[in-house]
């Protein structure tokens, strides 16, 4: 009987006329596709299409194609479904995967159009006029008390701590352990240069990131890895991670092979043990418990802003309202397209709702209760471009978080094999020969370039809309129109159809 009934997804071919037998592909492939016996050979069954070999082959000798093997078509038994069954019939395990939801669900962002000025009001040229993107995250007072004294005015209300962002784009939480230290360094350096923040994720803060802590939000998740008093006080804010868009309602599992000396030290767990994050925080079984943790963290940090990260699930508006009333300063909404280092495919692909919808209902709910000023909303999980940023903000987000887009900037090819720990690009791996490939300064430059490019585009959008500050776009759904959405969805988004 054959070892596996699952046929290769891709075919790897080496053009032996071109190949000069340098063996670079053997070194570069994290998945062990290549070997050398008199000539370079490739085992297609191991290929994940991460393209590392193709990019680094000096002779362009490698071609990767989708395996053209014909399957008898069946509309409800797509090939991937059959393959999943073959795998599970063999292994009796869950199908694991990495990165975000890859099923072709409706993408609401792609059905929203942005307005622009013509004649009756002038558009503004961002190259000639100031165009402001500065954003503050955290609680704002309902109103300010201002007194007049001898010709001047004096502020009488104290405004609590906020996180200042030069651009309304931050880097999402990705833990050291799931990604390499060099990824963390790239993100931290870039965050500092951009005037924004990165988020540690749940794996603690490596000492080498200490110079950048003014641009870091530290996370406190259910596993409490690396959480201690200095850690909580290190960053500009603390985030309680309740859930993640790619795997709402379930915990995390970083296998022992990834827990080397450095990761072990940072997470404060023994080398080689599995790092298990429980599904819930075992001290948060209800909203009152969340309130206690929020205030414990505030007390511990001298009242730095506390963010609460949740996966966007069906009842997200009511949950967000509870979180705001529990004392959070920031609500981080992670949509069902958010990425992950490892998740059961059944959860990643079928649980949660799109962040676009979540922003709209959360913003509306908080406004209807008159508590929108208590919290800032961050939207993440599926932000792919500056257009998505603009639309998320117009729907009501204060800022967005990007994770997958940042990794793609660092070389990620979205092969979705992060859970294997073999990432050839040195991103989702702890193998030193792989992590060495990512130079943090190079990585930071790519990230800075990307976010600067998006900022320029965002400024163009604002200018076309005839506004010169991002807050005039925030929650301004009047400047969005829907194309091809059903009327219920438009009603939920509070966006009119194009033409009206």
């Amino acid at each position: 009987m054959a070892g596996s009934m699952v046929t290769s997804e891709f075919l790897v071919e080496v053009d032996h006329q071109r190949c000069r037998r340098c063996k670079r592909c053997i070194l570069n492939c994290g998945f062990g596709v290549f070997d050398f016996q008199n000539m370079t050979t490739a085992d297609s069954s191991k290929c994940v299409a991460c393209h590392r070999c193709v990019v680094f082959c000096p002779e362009e000798a490698i071609t990767i194609t989708r395996n053209p093997l014909a399957f008898k078509e069946h509309p409800s038994w797509e090939v991937d479904r059959r393959k999943a069954i073959w795998k599970q019939a063999q292994s009796s395990g869950m199908i694991l995967t990495g990165m975000g939801n890859d099923l072709p669900w409706l993408n609401v962002f792609d059905h929203l159009l942005i307005d622009a000025c013509q004649v009756t009001n002038p558009s503004i040229d961002p190259l000639r006029e100031p165009m402001e993107l500065k954003t503050f995250l955290g609680r704002k007072p309902d109103r300010l008390e201002v007194s007049a004294d001898n010709g001047g005015f004096r502020l009488q209300t104290e405004v609590g701590n906020n996180v200042e962002l030069a651009v309304p784009i931050m880097f999402s939480g990705m833990s050291y352990g799931s990604v390499s230290l060099n990824v963390h360094k790239s993100l931290a350096i870039a965050a500092e240069k951009l005037g924004t923040v990165m988020n540690t994720g749940e794996g603690g803060l490596h000492p080498e990131l200490t110079p950048y802590t003014d641009h870091i939000i530290v996370q406190c998740a259910s596993g409490r890895f690396g959480v201690h008093s200095d850690y909580l006080n290190a960053g500009v804010a603390v985030e309680i991670k309740i859930g993640q868009g790619a795997k709402p309602g379930i915990g995390g599992h970083l296998p022992g092979e990834k827990i080397g000396r450095e990761v072990s030290g940072t997470r404060m767990i023994p080398v080689g043990t599995d790092a298990l994050s429980p599904a819930p925080h075992h001290d948060i079984y209800s909203i009152e418990d969340l309130r206690q943790l929020i205030y414990a963290l505030k007390e511990a940090t001298g009242y730095k802003p506390v963010s609460v990260k949740i996966a966007t699930v069906h009842n997200v508006a009511a949950i967000a309202s509870g979180i705001a009333r529990a004392g959070a300063d920031i609500i981080y909404l992670d949509g069902f397209r958010g990425g992950t280092g490892a998740s059961p495919a059944v959860i990643r692909d079928h649980v949660g709702i799109p962040v676009e919808i979540a922003i709209a209902v959360v913003d509306k709910q908080l406004r209807s209760e008159g508590i929108r000023n208590l919290v800032s909303i961050i939207a993440a999980g599926g932000i792919r471009s500056s257009a998505d940023v603009a639309k998320a903000i117009a729907l009501g987000a204060d800022a967005v978080g990007v994770g997958t887009a940042a990794l793609i900037a660092l070389g990620c090819r979205l092969c979705q094999k992060c859970y294997t720990g073999n990432c050839s690009w040195g991103i989702a791996t702890q193998r030193p020969e792989l992590t060495d490939r990512l130079d943090p300064d190079w990585g930071a430059e790519r990230l800075v370039n990307l976010i600067n490019a998006w900022s320029l585009e965002l400024k163009e959008v604002l200018g076309a809309l005839g506004v010169n500050a991002v807050e005039s776009l925030r929650g301004n759904r009047e400047r969005l129109r829907a194309l091809g959405l059903d009327s219920t969805t438009m009603d939920i988004l509070d966006v009119k159809p194009a033409g009206r």
Partner: protein, 374 residues
């Protein structure tokens, strides 16, 4: 989406779009000594900038015009049909103590057609109503006005302040002034407006000034941030029902100055906020902290897009431009008079030799306040 009840063409229009882009001409004058001027002065000023309007809306507000009723809210109401009037008067009767009720005097002017019934009521909230809910009279009146304007068919309260009144119609400003016999009123502040809507419901209530209690706003511009300003105001109970940007301006002034008690100048720096580059380089740390706190707290009240407004209130008048001055605004002084207008010509028409004429900088308010009591 809010519910709108005012005539057929109006509610139909509401379905199609949300607000009317408009460009306009404005003019205002105040005597800081509180000397009164006949309404004909502001008509003369507006006549010069006839071409900035297109005959689809004109109007005025005068302050100090009802000294004999100075302690009563003066409600100016337009009715299209008897049904709305009886429903509205029923509400007024049950909520207010009415001191006087009368028709608003008009004269027939060929250019002004299809006038609704126009009446005014001098009244105060019933004391027992205020006591029962322990609500401030001003808040009570705002709620009543909003409730009439959103629920009573064919009825619109277009002026609700004390010792002041708004007069507006579909037509050119000077014709509207004549129609309302403005020369018969004497006020220490007058503001006027000629409207150039690019799409119009042709409705009297849609003309400027837009008023709520003490605040009257005439406005030239289009508010590109309308959507978020409106949603921000909704959090405080203001319902934007009129489809005009101007309404947002009036409510923002009411919220910031009356309810949040911000000094007027500070409120202006919320609406036309200074740029971050200027705030960041501000040398005085207290001032910097204030400006930063204002932008953080009131970011949704930043009015973005081109505008020039003149706002009248019982103590004075303010002219304000957007933060990059995308619409014209000129100011002038002569003795105790302050003039603000879209065009210098409109000022010189009524004050040929002002002491000083200048173009206010972007976002810098020009404020003229009464020196004493009137």
């Amino acid at each position: 989406m809010m519910e709108l009840v005012f005539g057929d063409q109006y509610s139909k229009w509401q379905v199609d779009t949300c607000k009317v882009p408009a460009a306009c001409g404005l003019s205002g004058i105040i005597s800081r000594d509180g000397k009164v001027l006949g309404g004909n002065v502001i008509i003369e000023s507006m006549r010069v900038i006839h071409d900035r309007g297109n005959g689809l809306g004109g109007g005025f507000a005068g302050y100090g015009i009802y000294p004999e009723h100075r302690d009563h809210y003066a409600l100016h109401i337009m009715f299209e049909g008897a049904e709305g009037r009886s429903a509205c008067e029923g509400m007024l009767e049950s909520e207010l103590e009415i001191e006087a009720a009368e028709e608003i005097n008009t004269r027939s002017v060929p250019a002004i057609q299809e006038a609704p019934e126009l009446r005014r009521y001098f009244a105060v909230p019933r004391r027992e109503k205020l006591a029962r809910e322990s609500i401030e009279p001003d808040d009570f009146m705002v709620r009543l006005v909003m409730s009439i304007n959103t629920t009573v068919p064919g009825t619109f309260v277009f002026s609700s302040g004390k010792n002041m009144g708004v007069f507006k119609a579909v037509g050119f400003a000077e014709d509207v002034g004549e129609f309302f016999r403005l020369e018969e009123y004497n006020g220490y502040t007058w503001i006027g407006h000629g409207r150039f809507p690019t799409n119009t419901p042709g409705w009297w209530g849609g003309a400027h000034p837009f008023n709520i209690l003490d605040w009257s706003v005439v406005h030239n511009g289009e508010i590109s941030s309308y959507g978020i300003n409106k949603r921000y105001l909704e959090m405080f109970g203001y319902e934007c029902t009129l489809l005009t940007d101007t309404e947002v301006m009036a409510y923002l002034f009411d919220l910031l100055v009356r309810k949040h008690r911000l000094p007027l100048e500070v409120a202006c720096s919320v609406l036309a906020a200074p740029f971050w580059k200027d705030i960041d380089s501000e040398a005085d740390p207290e001032r910097k902290a204030l400006e930063q706190a204002l932008r953080m707290t009131y970011s949704s009240a930043l009015v973005n897009g081109p505008f020039a407004v003149i706002v009248g209130y019982s103590r004075g008048m303010v002219g304000l431009n957007d933060r990059i001055k995308l619409r014209p605004l000129v100011a002038a002084y002569k003795d105790d008079y302050l003039y603000v207008s879209s065009e210098e010509s409109a000022i010189r028409q009524i004050c040929p030799r002002p002491d000083r004429v200048w173009a206010p900088k972007a976002g810098q308010p020009v404020i003229g306040e009464l020196k004493g009591d009137v």
